[in-house]
Each structure stands twice: as C-alpha cells, then as structure tokens.
Symmetry: C3
C-alpha cells in the first residue's frame, strides 16, 4: 500500500454523537423474498405451520405465508448496527417491541432509529444510549418498532449531555397487540399444525422443556448474520478477540430458541410483541443450545379464534438448573431470557 490513505470508511458513532430527539436513517434497504425464507428454514429448525405453508396461512385468513416475524426483527436490527452498535460494548436490553404489519415476500425493508435516552456511566468512558427503532416496508407502513439500549464508548473525556432516561413499559399491554388484518383461527387445523394444545390448555406458570438441542457451527451463525446484513466484526473476524473466538449474534440464539419452542408450543404461531430480553451470556460455536419456556399470561383478542400467550423463553447451553445464582446474576449457562407475546388459537 503506497499512496494517500483516505478516511472514507465508517468509524461508527460514539456516545457523544447521540442526542435525544435525533433520528438516524439507516442505510441499505433490503428486499426479501422466498430465498430468505428457504434460508431461514435451513438455518433454524423452524416448523411453525403459518410460516411454513401458504395453504396453512390461507386457512388462517391470510393471503399467503408471511416471512417469519424474526426475519423482520433480524433485518431491521442488522440495518441499525453500523449506526448504533458498531462501537457498542454491550447490548443491554429490549422493550416495547411490537410487530405491526406482516412481512410479505417481495417487501423492501428500511429502518430508522430515534434516540430517546442517553446516560453517561460513572466511569466517564462510556454511556448508555436508548433508541426506538422502526422498520418500514416499501409502502411506508410500520413493520416493527422496538426500543433497544446499548452501552457505547465515549470518543473523548469531555463532559456529557444531561442524562435522559426514558420510561419504558414492563410489557406491551394486550390491548396494544396488533393482530394481522384477516387473521381468523376459528378453522385452525391442529393436526397439520403439529400439536393439539390451544390457548386455554396452557396455565399461567406452566413450564415447557423443549427437549431438543442444537450444536452451533461457525459457518451457520456467520451465514445467518450476514443474511441480515449485520456487519459487527465480532461475529466474523476470528482475529478480533484475544481468544480467537467469534461471538455469535444474539439474534441467532433468539431464532434457535424460538424454533426449538415448536416442541410444546407449535401453536404459538406469530410473535406480535417483545416485552423484554437479555442476552445473559455469550454463545460460541460448539455450544449446544437448548430452550424452555414459561407461560406468563394468556388473554383473548378481538380477532376471531385468536388468543395471545405471553411467554418467557430461556435458552441455555448446558444444564442450567438454576436461572440465576444466589446474588441474582444469570448462571453462566444461560444464553437468553426473552419475554414476548405470541398469537395462539383459542
């Protein structure tokens, strides 16, 4: 390399670059179609019937099978990475996530994020940034909106802006869930869906062990993370960490856990809200991911035959007999603790 070296690459934003009220338009719109759907099935043991077959979706009142709700999440999340988490130290949490419009094959996704909170850490070297991210389709309709907060490095050592900490709901209210127009589960086929259990068969507090485990390979999580155009180098560059390991994108674990949950929750068909979530510990290639879920709530919705089930799904990479230790800290084997609403036939 001899010549003038330029500074045209994206260094990512630092804590000082975020101010409350600022709206960031994320780059690189993305059209997704049946290829992304096929890859989703290859990457995850996904079997929920509504996302597997046009005929099943049609029997539920939809025009055809929408892409998995997590394809929306991953694609929108991926778009935010260069602007939000390129210099992030940690992905701290999610709240107020709502899926508003299904993602249909052929849709083009764009995303924006509004900064809704900033708070410098006591160390003075980093701070927490809260953003509300919104994904839209080519018609400008909102696909998904959610709040995420991350810890971001400071560029310098100067004084920070006044702290603004947003007030966030603990969970999305049932009345705020958006049911896809036309969805009607009154003629739901429990044989084709894979399990006979309907909404009221689940008791609040009930725990379902999803039985199966998936051992993750480097090639798989990189294929997935690239598919969502997520560019965070920790996922791809084995020379980045001193231990030579690539960190698996947290969303990859979300999709594995959700897919494993088919076994016991085959009728929890669509995710409509993300109440909260924590990536409790990092996941690496070679880990065998398992999952269990606890029923947090069940509720009716105004749509015909459609109920809502609030679930906590926990992914682990070992026995993880206890979720947390005596001090309230996640056990080392816990990977993910996710709280969400899904739609289920009544």
């Amino acid at each position: 390399m001899t010549g003038t070296t330029s500074a045209k690459t994206n260094p990512g934003r630092f804590f000082e670059d975020y101010s409350v009220g600022k709206v960031i338009a994320h780059a690189v719109p993305r059209t997704v179609k049946m290829g992304e759907r096929a890859l989703y099935h290859a990457l995850y043991p996904a079997r929920h019937a509504l996302h597997s077959a046009d005929t099943f979706a049609q029997s539920c009142g939809l025009p055809y099978s929408p892409l998995d709700d997590l394809v929306t999440f991953h694609t929108v999340f991926g778009k935010t990475v260069p602007d939000i988490s390129l210099n992030a130290v940690a992905n701290l949490g999610y709240a107020e996530g709502r899926w508003i419009t299904p993602l249909w094959p052929g849709d083009t996704i764009t995303a924006t994020s509004e900064v809704i909170g900033v708070k410098e850490n006591s160390s003075g070297t980093s701070g927490v940034v809260w953003v509300r991210t919104t994904g839209r389709n080519q018609h400008g309709e909102v696909l998904l909106t959610y709040v995420r907060w991350v810890m971001v490095r400071k560029r310098g050592t100067g004084p920070a802006a006044a702290a603004v900490v947003p007030t966030l709901s603990d969970s999305v209210a049932v009345t705020d869930l958006v049911i896809p127009p036309g969805l009607d589960l009154t003629a739901y086929d429990f044989t084709l869906s894979g399990e006979p259990h309907r909404l009221r068969d689940y008791a609040v507090g009930e725990i379902i062990d999803h039985v199966d485990g998936v051992t993750v390979e480097e090639a798989e999580h990189m294929l997935a993370t690239r598919l969502w155009q997520n560019t965070a180098k920790v996922h791809f560059d084995a020379t980045h960490r001193p231990d030579g390991r690539r960190l698996i994108y947290g969303g990859h674990v979300i999709s594995i856990a959700r897919a494993l949950s088919f076994n016991g929750l085959a009728n929890a068909q669509m995710i409509v809200a993300l109440n909260g979530g924590a990536h409790a510990n990092p996941c690496f290639a070679g880990d065998t991911v398992r999952a269990w879920s606890q029923v947090l709530d069940v509720a009716d919705t105004p749509a015909p035959g459609v109920g809502a089930i609030r679930l906590r799904t926990v992914a682990t990479k070992g026995a993880a007999g206890n979720l947390r230790d005596a001090a309230g800290k996640y056990s080392p084997d816990v990977l993910l603790d996710l709280d969400y609403w899904a739609l289920m036939p009544q």
Copy 2:
C-alpha cells in the same frame, strides 16, 4: 425453572402405538419455491440440466424446471420423522417408491403414512414397523409414494399384536413408472446436458465410477436436514451420542451420491422409482463421499424419446474395493446402496 412442568412435547410413538391399517396425517405442510432450489444447488454438486434450467426443461416438453425429485423425497421424509422415526433404532429399508407428479416451485407438500406391517423382534424390546408414506401437493395429487420400514423401541414389555409382514415388490415394474405429462426427449440437447450417452449406450452390468469426492462438513448436513424439517436429534445435537458425533441424515448421502453420478450419468435426468435402498453404515462429518453406479436394466417407455434406466448407485467413504465381506455383510466403508429407475433419452 420453578413452576409446574408440562408434558406438551412430542415423545414420539413406540412400537405398541402402530397398528396395521392406521393412517397418520403428518404435521406442518411446506411450501417450496426457488429458494429451496438454490439451496439444493449449494448443498449438493447437482448439475442435471432438467433441474438446472427452465429453458432446458422447456425443450423437454415441461412448462419449466421442476424441483429435484429428491427435494420431494426429503421433504416428505422429513414430515414423517416425528411420527415414524423419532424413537427408531434403525432405518431398515425402502421399497415400491414411485414419483407420480413433479414438484413445481410454489407447491405445498403434505404427507400421510399408513401402517402396513408390524413385527416384534425376538428380544421383546423393539419391533419392525412398515409404513406406506404418500406425499401430496396442494391439489391433493400424489407427488410420491414409498414404503419404509424402521426398527422402533417398545414402550413396555407386554405382548405384541400379531405379526403382519407385507409382501413387497423387489422392484417397480417398468410399466408402473409414471412419466411426467408432456415429457418429450426427442429434441434433447446432448451438448447442453453435458454428455453424449443415451439409453442404449449403457449395457446392463456396466459400472461407472463417478470419480469425484465430497468431504462433508457439520454445517452442511445440518443446513440440509433442517431445510427438510427433519427433527431427529441425532443429526443436530453433539451431546446426544456418547462419542460426541452427529449422525448425518441418510438422505444427505443419497443426494450427494445422486449429484456425483452426473459424471457418467448426466442424462439420467429424473428419478421415477425407488426399488430399494440400504444405509449400510453411518456417515459422519469429515468423511469424503464417493459413488459408483451399475446399470441393472434399460427399457423403453411409451413417452416420445424417453427411456428408463435402472441403476444401483453405491456411496462409499473410502476405497471400499469390495461391497460386502465374505459373510455378505456390507464393508465398513459402504454408506449407501440404492436401487432406482431414472428417465434417459433413447
């Protein structure tokens, strides 16, 4: 995990759960399109022109290129796993397989299996179950039907039902082969297809060594097996076997062998019958799969320019100089021994 643990997951069926005449409707219909086709090309070195190009298929009288015949097989097979082979000890054999209707992009596949035989083993701890599985498209047309038999664990130690052992054909008769409507190979382009050999260029008894080898990786066979929504845990969970190895889905070896057979059998374009097959030894990541074929029969069909060739394709993971040892047992390096009919230009 604290709370009431539920029993909503699928424990799989045991030997006692199968009775002759019972029909099982398998769950989770599946729509397949061009994404599955692209993945098939990424997963296997598949080059048969009829499945590669719409233009080539059209020159053979078809509206466009159908999905590979083995996509039909794998998808139907995958649907049966939770009901037939979740507690299977071994996949013992196939017979009377016939492809009836091509699989077109956009088709939705469902599957049912009828129990046609049961026979307890002398040990009293397991038994053999025969099922005739039928895959259908969204119009109710039969895509594929085949008989499979598996060894299944008994749940208890009680007496078993009377043995019923079905009579199965050694091979599908030429007159029972179904030629796709419209197929016409009279204007077949041997340059574009890749080889000049037509039906009568092959002599019964002739052996073709397909030359190439493919070393298999864990990520590849898991992507493939998930794509077919096959949930058998031996393929995905490295903690399942004491030796920490994942067993590769036998169908993955079938597709590798079939794809390798292009080199010498480029004009054996469509598989129309499965006469029999044995997964002689397990395949693991790191194995280098090779294949050879022997011509068992050649025959004419009533369709214009269309002949049928009966092939035995054997996949090995080493030299495997001899297929069987002195005692008639498969050599340890033999992975697959498959007997099928394919269509070839006369």
Copy 3:
C-alpha cells in the same frame, strides 16, 4: 464393483485438445432467481444498495434489482470448468472482461468459450491456453465476456501446434464500458446507499483500507462454489491434496473482497469491466480475508449522473505490509489483486 467398467466420465481436456478458433459450448444451462440472491447475501457481506433492494434499483432507473454482477461471473466461470480448467495447473489471468447486460432474476445462463491462444511451455509437459468466454441469457443477449488464460497439462509428449499469443488490452477503455439501459443516478440517495462519497470525492492514487475481516470456513466456500456448479475437485475433496486441505475457489475471494469494499466504496455500485486479476496465493479455510483498494482512475460516462471509477482491490490474509517483495513477487499473504471498473454517482 464387479462388471465391465465404463469410460463415460469426463476426463477433462488436455493442452493438445485446444486449437485456436475452436468454440466450446459449455454444458448445463442454469436459471437463477431470488434464491441465488439470498444465498449471495448469506455467503458474502454484500451491502451495495442497488443489489439489495428493488426500491433502490428503481430509484436508479432500473426495473428492479439485478443479481450481483459477480453472480454472472461465477455462474459463467463455473460452466467453463469442466472444459477449460479440469486439468489446469494454474489460473493465470483475466483480461478484457465486460458486463454487457444485467442479470435479472429468472434469467437462464449459458456459456461458450473460444480458444484464442495456445503456447506450449518450455518443459514440454504443459502449455498456456487463452479463451474468450461469453455468457448469454435466454434471449441470446451477452451478459458477460472475458478472456482467461490457464496452464493446462499435456496428454502426451508429442510436438505442439505453433504458438499463438493473443494481444490483450491492459484495461477496458472507458468508452467501451456498457452502461445498463435506463441507469440514471441523478436522484441517487446517498443516505440509503450508506456513504456520502461521490465520484469526484475520490482522488487517483487514493487508498482505502476496508477495515473488516472475514474468517472463512470450509462449509461456506463449498456452498458457494457448488452454487456456481463449479466442479473442480480441489475445492471439495480433502483427500485430493497431500496436505489434506481444500483450495478455496479464487472467485470466492473476489466476492469477499468486493463485499468488504462496501466500507469506503459503498457507491461503487455495479462492476462493468474486469481489466485484469491475479490469484496471487491460495486461500484456505481458517484464513481471515481483508481488503484494501486503490483508485486508479475516475471518468465520466454519457449516462445521466453516472461516473466510472477504476479500482485495484487487493485481498490479503494477513498484514501484508508490502504487496510485493524485492524481487517483484507477491508477498505470501496476498490472495488477490484485481483491477476493475465500477459505476458510481457523479
């Protein structure tokens, strides 16, 4: 294996089989659609907006998003392998590559190669063969044409034909670049594309370090290389080389480097010419690929708002502080040295 062994497999061509003027029609046409596009995004960190979103492509005057220009290259290249490089010792160079027509989803690709040069090596055991390869769509329109030369083994020891060495251009002239009909970058959205830099922001001689690195896995390069129906056994068979390593298809490195170049060259949207290229050293699984580019030229084109930038993109697997050693030989860490024209908004 007992029976008559046949010789129906393709042994590949040897040096003596090439004569100047001969045109080889390559086998196995291929239809590519959205599945191939999704896989391209999973295999490479590709983010150029024109190839990512229909809406973005439409804002640039195109009917929808074409497949990546390198999908055309890889698919055409793959078709040539059985005829050109099955017995090749080395892939020596490229020249005069021009993309003429964009590749649209649904197109079927065929390829032919004309032998334009032959020259026996002084050793008498091999020779160099030059071919001009042309890929066409189902309408017979040229998608891509390029010259490649390879070193090929001789079959025998007899005298060779007289040497014919073609005269090749050092680079494609700006006036010979073909701009896709309708392309209009006057309303180009630099926010959605990801970077603000336009043609005249780049100075000739300027160097851009693309920052990120990608560690390559065996499964990934084999999925990619199979997708392009490239059958060269060095990429797939771990038993082929004495060291048990599989050689990564050089085009895989081209696509990684091009995708990494987004970071600093996000607006270099379409590749329209390949001036030259060298695969300087082999790439193996486990290597972490990085890239940097140097601006060689900038030029206007007659199309509205469309400029052309000539780039040299170099991929390395380590620090590679110097491209070449004192003797002018590529440093061992250099994988690729590529010279091409791309289109960029003025």
